[in-house]
């Protein structure tokens, strides 16, 4: 009897196409949500790993270098470098500011010791050599040689780096630590953290040693609310998709009530009718999932930061789409079961 359902789908192809488009759009939103969430987490991991540090040393009581504003003397790096297990130690500074000219844009600012740990991977131009030079994230759209103002301080872009973003896709400017100390600490020799090659076997007094994972965890803590929001919106979108598929299947069951009565009167079992209706829901959900994958690929570049949808999201989309399709068609299935074959008799 599945053939009857397939032909019915073809017969009502306009309605099917509209439902497919609507459901596909909703599904593509869920894919993009997954992509956004995944990308935000990925960029946090990427920025931490980009330092290639074995350990992060911060002031005791500080959650991490990216979220706390407390500072330690930069000279502590010399003491840390002498700790057993440490081969090299350099101070870094992380803070947030705005960059111009023109419309001010929020940026993360990273200060590191040129030649030391934390040098960005420059994809265009060169690294820092002199004061007042900056390496900028490519999403800012600057060109090498362009002049910018960071918190009113003039800088020259000497290099560009890819994917140096964190804090919800905020782009990053990388400066020498001396320049950042001048901008953030009025020239005081302070640092947000000390990054090391080699892991200190004992922390110096008043300091605290963190691993990469702990730093990532600290960086992701402020995202907890946004993660929950994304999950909630995703759940709502699934419900909308279920509503669309469910209403299409229910309408189909409603309109085909007389057909079902005729089919039952000619010997079709409830199970075969249910299989046919469920098939419609599954076909619609699966086709919508495929359309969503295409739509998401087109829509992802519109976002102001890189949205890369993980492969698992596509797999789970198909699985959830099937579940949504079947669950949402329950009302229609229930109606089909209740159709009395005696309705087939009598007038039109």
């Amino acid at each position: 009897m599945w053939r009857v359902s397939v032909r019915d789908l073809l017969w009502r192809r306009r309605r099917f196409a509209i439902a497919l488009l609507a459901t596909g759009l909703v599904f593509s939103m869920t894919l993009l949500m997954s992509g956004i969430s995944s990308s935000l987490h990925a960029q946090n991991r990427r920025i931490v790993r980009s330092f290639s540090a074995d350990a992060w040393v911060v002031a005791k009581g500080t959650a991490g270098p990216f979220t706390a504003s407390s500072a330690i003397p930069a000279a502590v790096s010399d003491a840390v470098a002498k700790l057993p297990g440490v081969r090299r130690a350099d101070p870094i500074i992380v803070f947030r500011s705005t960059v111009g000219p023109g419309t001010l844009r929020d940026v993360n600012v990273l200060g590191y010791r040129p030649g030391g740990i934390g040098a960005p991977h420059v994809t265009s131009g060169r690294g820092l050599r002199a004061p007042d030079e900056v390496v900028a994230d490519t999403t800012l759209g600057y060109r090498v040689g362009e002049r910018v103002k960071l918190g009113g301080h003039p800088l020259r872009v000497v290099g560009l780096a890819d994917a140096v973003t964190f804090y919800f896709g905020t782009p990053t400017l990388v400066l020498s630590i001396a320049d950042v100390q001048r901008l953030a600490f009025a020239g005081q020799a302070l640092a947000s953290a000390i990054v090391t090659r080699g892991v200190p076997r004992a922390a110096a007094s008043g300091l605290h040693v963190l691993t990469d994972d702990q730093v990532v965890h600290d960086l992701e803590r402020p995202m907890k609310n946004s993660d929950q929001t994304l999950s909630l919106v995703n759940a709502l979108l699934w419900i909308v998709a279920a509503g669309i598929i469910g209403s299409i299947v229910y309408l189909s069951a409603l309109e085909r009530g007389h057909d079902f009565a005729v089919l039952k009167a000619t010997g079709a079992t409830n199970r075969s009718l249910l299989t046919g209706l469920a098939l419609q829901a599954v076909v619609l959900a699966t086709a919508a999932a495929l359309l969503a994958a295409v739509l998401a690929a087109f829509l992802a570049p519109i976002f102001p930061f890189t949205v890369s949808i993980p492969g698992g999201a596509y797999v789970s989309l198909v699985a959830v789409a099937l579940a949504v399709g079947l669950l949402s068609s329950l009302a229609g299935l229930r109606r089909a079961v209740r159709v009395d074959p005696a309705l087939a008799f009598g007038g039109a």
Binding site: M1, R3, V4, R7, D8, L10, W11, R12, H258, D259, V262, L263, K264, A265, T266, G267, A268, T269, S272, D340, P341, A342, A344, F345, G346, G347, A348
Partner: protein, 327 residues
């Protein structure tokens, strides 16, 4: 395969009341016969077809087709019976609108799990047989009423069933279209098959080997008045009975009640001396829509409607309509 119907009684609930359109029907139809169920709307023709198709379960009696006891079958077996043994031609064709003529004929074959190629070949043969070999790809909307009915007949024959049921097969056809459909129906009644046609179309009478009138004939002839003496609680007639007489109360009191679906009674009224009741059933050839019984020791006289009019000068057809209620 002969069809045997014994003491068949079918009841169902309608509008909160219990209705018994078929009451104690006996019928024998031999293989190869075409039987017409004739009667006005509401007389139980379609109800009987539903029972023959194994859709309705009768309250009493039995239906046997050859060795098959249809009334004793469990639900699953009845579905199988409909799938393999019965072909149904519905009143409004009832073709699935999204399917072509070929697909519509294949539906019962698909339901029975017949392989696609075999089903297709069989459906094409049947459409050829009903003269629609050149219309296989047309959807119902592209076919005339007569062509749709022929597709419906082809569908009913998909499994070459020993029992074919047709419900008002000419209801939606003009006189040109009806000709071919009638001839097809007649051809179906061949040895090994019983054809039962429900209709109120008397043009079909010459087709039939046997005619079963399900409507009680309206009592038109004058009959000798029937005088009855009743004790309290004695029933004059019961809801669902056929009725031929109008009753005049001479003495005592008659109460009129209607039985609800839950078995409780609704009192419609009562008739005392000089009042009459029970005129609708004999006048219009209907079944009694209520029960009349003596509330006390009573004496009543039953008249045919014509006799009643001649004696009392009451035009029953123009009297206010009530459900066999007293006047």
């Amino acid at each position: 395969m002969d069809l045997h119907i014994d003491s068949l009684t079918i009841e169902y609930t309608s509008g909160g009341y219990r209705v018994r359109p078929i009451d104690g029907l006996d019928l024998r139809v031999a293989s190869g016969e075409l039987v017409l169920l004739l009667g006005a709307s509401g007389c139980g023709k379609t109800t009987l077809l539903s029972a023959l198709a194994g859709i309705l379960t009768p309250a009493a009696g039995s239906i046997r087709l050859g060795e098959l006891d249809v009334t004793a079958m469990p639900a699953r077996a009845r579905t199988e019976y409909r799938r393999r043994t019965v072909g149904i031609v519905f009143q409004a064709f009832n073709l699935v609108p999204g399917l072509s003529a070929l697909d519509n004929v294949q539906v019962p074959l698909w339901a029975a799990g017949v392989p696609g190629r075999t089903a297709r070949r069989r459906a094409a043969e049947l459409l050829e047989r009903v003269g629609l070999g050149d219309r296989v790809g047309h959807r119902p909307s592209g076919l005339s009423g007569g062509q749709q009915q022929r597709v419906a007949i082809a569908r009913a024959l998909a499994h070459d069933p020993p029992l074919v049921l047709a419900d008002e097969p000419t209801a939606h056809l003009d006189y040109i279209q009806v000709d071919r459909v009638l001839r097809l129906l007649r051809e179906l009644a061949e040895p090994g098959r019983v054809v039962v046609v429900a209709t109120h179309d008397e043009r079909l009478l010459p087709l039939a080997d046997r005619v079963v009138e399900l409507s009680p004939r309206a009592a038109a002839e004058a009959a000798v008045p029937e005088r009855r003496t009743l004790t309290g609680g004695e029933v004059v007639f019961s809801q669902g009975d056929r009725g031929e007489l109008v009753y005049m109360v001479e003495r005592g009191e008659i109460e009129i009640v209607r039985v609800r679906a839950d078995g409780t009674e609704e009192r419609l009224g009562h008739a005392g001396p000089g009042r009459y009741f029970g005129e609708l059933a004999p006048l219009f050839g209907l079944r009694r829509s209520a029960t009349a019984r003596a509330a006390t020791t009573s004496e009543i006289t039953g008249y045919s409607p014509r006799d009643f009019r001649d004696r009392f000068g009451v035009d029953l057809a123009r009297a206010p309509v009530g459900a066999d209620a007293p006047r």
